[in-house]
């Protein structure tokens, strides 16, 4: 059960302090899409599990088709598992093309569009895959460098987000850093 224990170390991903600081990194990431944010340091989990611990609990569902989260952590999260087509959160390996159709919500309830946590190799500076982001939260344009993201993801999200306000929001995460790409972000450029 994702009920943070106040006696735990503050650098544990399950501590309230970690989750508060981690949320602020995520809130800043969503406020400024495409801009890298450092997750707070943590002793017992890497990026994708940190995101799940910050956002997920028994009140939401998560699909983990590639089993990226160890079963002990799934148990600890207390989270309901669901198919990729229904889950409110999906966790996936960015190096592979997305092999699912997430829910995009409805015209009246667009917030039901899924949040996809995408594990990538690195968000550190690199010129391998320079993307140009535009949209709300971005002053002009924002360059994003990411390693380990299959370019099919960009086509898939364009398809998922074709009818605003419905759509899917992405959280790219490596071991320690995070970049948010909400449905409103327009992306151009890329390797192919």
């Amino acid at each position: 059960m994702n009920r943070p224990d106040t006696t735990e170390q503050h650098d544990s991903v399950w501590s309230p302090l970690y989750q508060q600081r981690g949320f602020r990194a995520l809130m800043t990431a969503f406020s400024f899409p495409g801009r890298r944010q450092q997750l707070p340091g943590c002793s017992d989990a890497a990026g994708p599990i940190c995101i799940a611990a910050i956002l997920c609990d028994k009140e939401v569902t998560l699909a983990d088709p590639e089993q990226l989260i160890p079963s002990a952590d799934i148990l600890r999260l207390g989270i309901g598992e669901a198919d990729t087509g229904q889950a409110s959160f999906i966790i996936a390996d960015g190096s592979q093309p997305p092999a699912f159709e997430p829910t995009i919500g409805t015209l009246s309830e667009p917030e039901r569009g899924a949040t996809v946590i995408v594990r990538v190799a690195s968000l550190a500076d690199s010129s391998d895959f320079p993307l140009i982001c535009r949209g709300p939260g971005i002053d002009g344009q924002q360059t994003l460098a990411v390693r380990g993201l299959n370019s099919d993801w960009l086509q898939a999200r364009t398809h998922w987000n074709r009818n605003f306000p419905m759509g899917v929001d992405l959280i790219l995460v490596d071991d320690t850093q995070v970049v948010a790409i909400p449905r409103t972000t327009h992306i151009s450029g890329g390797a192919n």
Partner: protein, 299 residues
């Protein structure tokens, strides 16, 4: 709320920030969706707070869900840090969030909770403004059914709202809405920007800081993200005008206290029977006053 409110003796059973971790996590998830869908009234399960709804519970829940010991909090009500409501909400935060600093300075705050004003001092990227909202849906005046309003919002269909505004215009010869001016966010959703004056509406547009709106009674959270268009609904032939504070002969009235001619002024009724105009933002007024005094001291 009761200004003498004290937490029950078993304080250990309370989380930092009063809300339990499940409540915080839900509000956090909703905040991220609200940012992802600018202007959309995202529903959430508002928790009971030890004060009546209508006392800023929506804004307070936003603040409590995000605040941490690294934060410096400012709470204002109609621009003032000293009003009873602002003082009580600040006390509540101090009581339930040990380690958090509070401030009256806009520039020093990382989080600002406000009712009825956007601070005069321009906000930065590293600041967040949480606005308290009594009535979140601008479509209520033209459509009683929430289900139908949700479809109209989704389609970005504001034809009936525009018609209503236009009727006002024909009747009164100008847009008479002084507060809560319907504002279109990112070209799609129209929001009720909360009871801020028209003067503050342009400051939501392409701001550097995230602005979040919390309606506790209606259980809605919505956002104007940084660098996002926020445009008052207007007609081609009638420009949007903010309050101008001009005297009869067309001069900009200065603040009676600090002399500023670039701030939103409150009209005060003097005991002597006359009127005076003074900055509504007390922090801004104090700063202008201090700067003016400095200029007098240093030749």
């Amino acid at each position: 709320m009761n200004p003498n409110y004290k937490l029950p003796a078993a304080q250990d059973s309370y989380s930092f920030g009063f809300l339990d971790e499940f409540a915080k996590r839900e509000i956090r998830r909703v905040i991220l969706k609200a940012i992802s869908i600018p202007g959309y009234q995202t529903p959430y399960a508002s928790r009971e707070m030890p004060m009546g709804r209508g006392f800023g519970t929506g804004g307070l829940q936003l603040t409590l869900a995000m605040i941490g010991p690294d934060d410096t909090l400012k709470v204002i009500d109609q621009g003032s840090d000293d009003s009873v409501n602002a003082v009580n909400l600040r006390k509540f935060a101090e009581l339930t969030c040990p380690g958090v600093s509070t401030t009256e300075s806009t520039a020093d705050a990382s989080l600002i909770q406000t009712r009825h004003r956007v601070p005069e001092t321009a906000l930065r990227e590293d600041q967040v403004l949480n606005l308290q909202v009594p009535y979140p849906d601008p479509l209520v005046i033209v459509e009683p059914s929430e289900a139908r309003r949700k479809v109209m919002h989704g389609e970005g269909d504001y034809a009936r709202l525009l018609t209503k505004l236009y009727e006002d215009l024909v009747q009164f010869d100008e847009i008479t809405i002084s507060h809560r001016y319907p504002t279109r966010v990112n070209g799609h959703y129209v929001i009720d920007p909360s009871p801020i004056p028209r003067y503050d509406v342009p400051r939501l547009h392409q701001a550097k800081a995230l602005m979040l709106f919390g309606a506790g009674r209606e259980k809605k959270i919505y956002a104007v993200p940084p660098y996002t268009d926020a445009e008052p609904l207007v007609f081609d032939d009638i420009p949007f005008r903010t309050e101008n504070f001009h005297t009869a002969d067309g001069k900009r009235r200065p603040c009676a206290r600090c002399g500023a001619t670039d701030s939103f002024l409150d009209e005060l009724n003097l005991e002597t029977g006359g009127k005076a105009w003074q900055c509504s933002d007390t922090d801004y007024c104090n700063r202008q006053l201090a700067a003016a005094n400095d200029r007098e001291v240093t030749p």
